[in-house]
Symmetry: C2
Subunit: 364 residues, 2 copies
């Protein structure tokens, strides 16, 4: 099988590696950045380089377009233009509706299938490419109704062979969903830091130590401006609609808090806890995530000691948050592990190390 | 010196322990919950128990009221009623304006100083009490203008002797500040999970894997309903005002995104990043926090190996976030360490272990 990869960064490079090693495919790479292309070849993410899109897609059975979101429309059109009637073209862009609309007018649009792997946003660049990047990852495919069935099947089969779990979804639902769980948190983080900067900037001497809730809520504020400008423009409608809904909900929250009825506020707070647990814990194979909270000293080595003991006991840490006290010497650690059994084992292990352990929301 | 502690939970118990061990004070404890009081005595957080508020405060030079926020008004009044002209009374409630107003009418209001230590919210109960809980922690004091100067001085001296860093602030500024950096993130987390639950609940089969930004932003959603109902009612005005401002800012963000001008969106995104760095990194003695990002395998032992190696190298991890890939076997780890030197050392250590390392926002 011959596969073309147009754009060899983290995602394109990882597709190339996985396709070469797992599908034993021949992978041809193209990138407008020559040094990027040379690195991709040197790292063996591709078998050979192509000098143009046309050169890359010639005789390819499948073309992956892995450029930044803004460049995808033109790149997909070029790939469709230059490839034959049996070539499937897909992409890896994180927003889909605008792109599907742009491609819809192409005479060969039926050979295109939109795609979006949920993987690899944290570290960019072909140097970080891995053949297991997509293992177990959801990979959305957004075929249009007129899409060629055989070519769609080829795309989803290759995606599965790369290690991912393909799922078809219409482009609008995809973008709305991404707006809710990914793009909106970024908007809110931005707004919150701006507000805090204004509120506190007036008297810098009074700037308080910022608590863990603020740090968590604003961690993604100002993330990679190039990438996020693309996302906010490409998915603008869905993101703006999500913001409208949040504004409504915040208005209701302000009214609830101004009214000051403790029973209503408590019910709202409880409901939020239940919603979060349902959302975050869903679909984790090994069991719902359980939080194990420890009071610890935060000196060098403490985190290691705990993590090492858990590793020895075979308990995997799915997520972790450190809440250092102001002196940075003591604090609390929250660990999330999958399933009740792992939680109880983690509690036992940490307890044996002398830490005070709380199993949050224990049901037993 | 004799100190009375009214309410012996995590905070009251830790005050008792630190006062006994560090100030060699005689600590008398009272708690309406008899088993709590017995535990406090057994854990040596107090020297003796009192049968009533009056019994506890008799001859005390300083009284700490450490009950839940809603109970503090009555408790402070009772302590002022029962104590002599040379007894200072303070509290540890996390909101101050409403409380100051309630106490202001008391004939002995000049003996009261409002207080709020920024410590210990993560783990409740006297079993978690520690004599070093307040080490290096900010402890806000909110004296009224009519406050007795000698008694104020006693409160702030004892607070410093407990290990904390006292700072005077007027009650309204305190509450506004807490609303911005602590209470507002909780409101937003609640709203966000409610919105996601509605948006996604309609088609549970399509529930996506929830990304790290969503998890971070909503981590505190639905936190302890009893405590947060108290906070939202006691600090309702300030919190509602903060929400109003966020609503305005979100409206502006929605307009910006609908307008779709890439340059404006990029500028907004960059500004958010700068604001966050300024807010979160301020006032950390050892240097601004630096983020070190690693691509790792997420098998048991990986976190330990990294943390242990850093510990050996004398690098302390101030904060940590794990971003597991969907398969929970690979992913990325972000570490925050204090100062450029520590960041570079951390990068070296992690690199030696074979991980791909990115120093985020490196300036060198």
């Amino acid at each position: 099988m011959r596969i073309a990869v147009l754009g060899v960064g983290l995602i394109g490079g990882s597709i190339g590696l996985a396709a070469r090693r797992r599908l034993h495919a021949e992978v041809v790479g193209f990138d407008p950045d020559q040094s990027n292309l040379a690195s991709a070849l040197k790292l063996e993410t591709i078998d050979r380089t192509a000098g143009s899109v046309a050169d890359a897609v010639a005789d390819a059975e499948l073309v992956f377009c892995a450029a930044p979101v803004r460049a995808l429309g033109d790149l997909i059109a070029a790939a469709l233009d230059a490839s034959g009637a049996d070539t499937a073209v897909t992409d890896v862009g994180s927003t889909k509706r605008e792109l599907m609309a742009a491609v819809a007018g192409h005479t060969a649009a039926s050979r295109y299938v939109g795609g979006h792997p949920l993987a690899g946003a944290e570290t960019a660049g072909v140097a970080n490419a891995r053949d297991d990047l997509f293992d177990g990852a959801r990979w959305y495919l957004t075929p249009e109704p007129g899409c060629d069935g055989l070519l769609y099947d080829r795309v989803q089969r290759v995606v599965a062979d790369l290690g991912a779990r393909p799922q078809a979804l219409d482009a609008e639902a995809h973008d709305r969903m991404m707006a809710t769980v990914s793009h909106l948190p970024h908007v809110i983080a931005n707004v919150l830091v701006a507000q805090a900067a204004t509120a506190l900037g007036e008297d810098a001497e009074r700037l308080p130590e910022v608590g863990p809730s603020f740090r968590d809520t604003t961690r993604v504020a100002g993330a990679n401006p190039a990438i996020w400008t693309d996302i906010f423009t490409a998915n603008g409608d869905a993101v703006a609609t999500e913001i409208d809904h949040v504004v409504e909900r915040l208005g209701a929250a302000a009214a609830l808090i101004r009214e000051g009825n403790p029973a209503s506020i408590a019910a709202w707070q409880r409901q939020a806890g239940e919603s979060r647990r349902a959302l975050v814990q869903s679909k984790l194979g090994a069991g719902a995530l359980r939080e194990v909270r420890l009071s610890v000293s935060n000196k060098p080595g403490t985190v290691a000691e705990i993590a090492l003991a858990l590793g020895r006991a075979g308990v995997n840490i799915e997520d972790m948050a450190l809440y250092p006290a102001q002196d940075m010497r003591t604090g609390a650690i929250s660990l999330w592990v999958a399933g009740d059994q792992a939680a109880q084992q983690a509690a036992r292990v940490a307890g044996d190390l002398g830490h005070t352990v709380t199993l949050v929301g224990a049901q037993s």
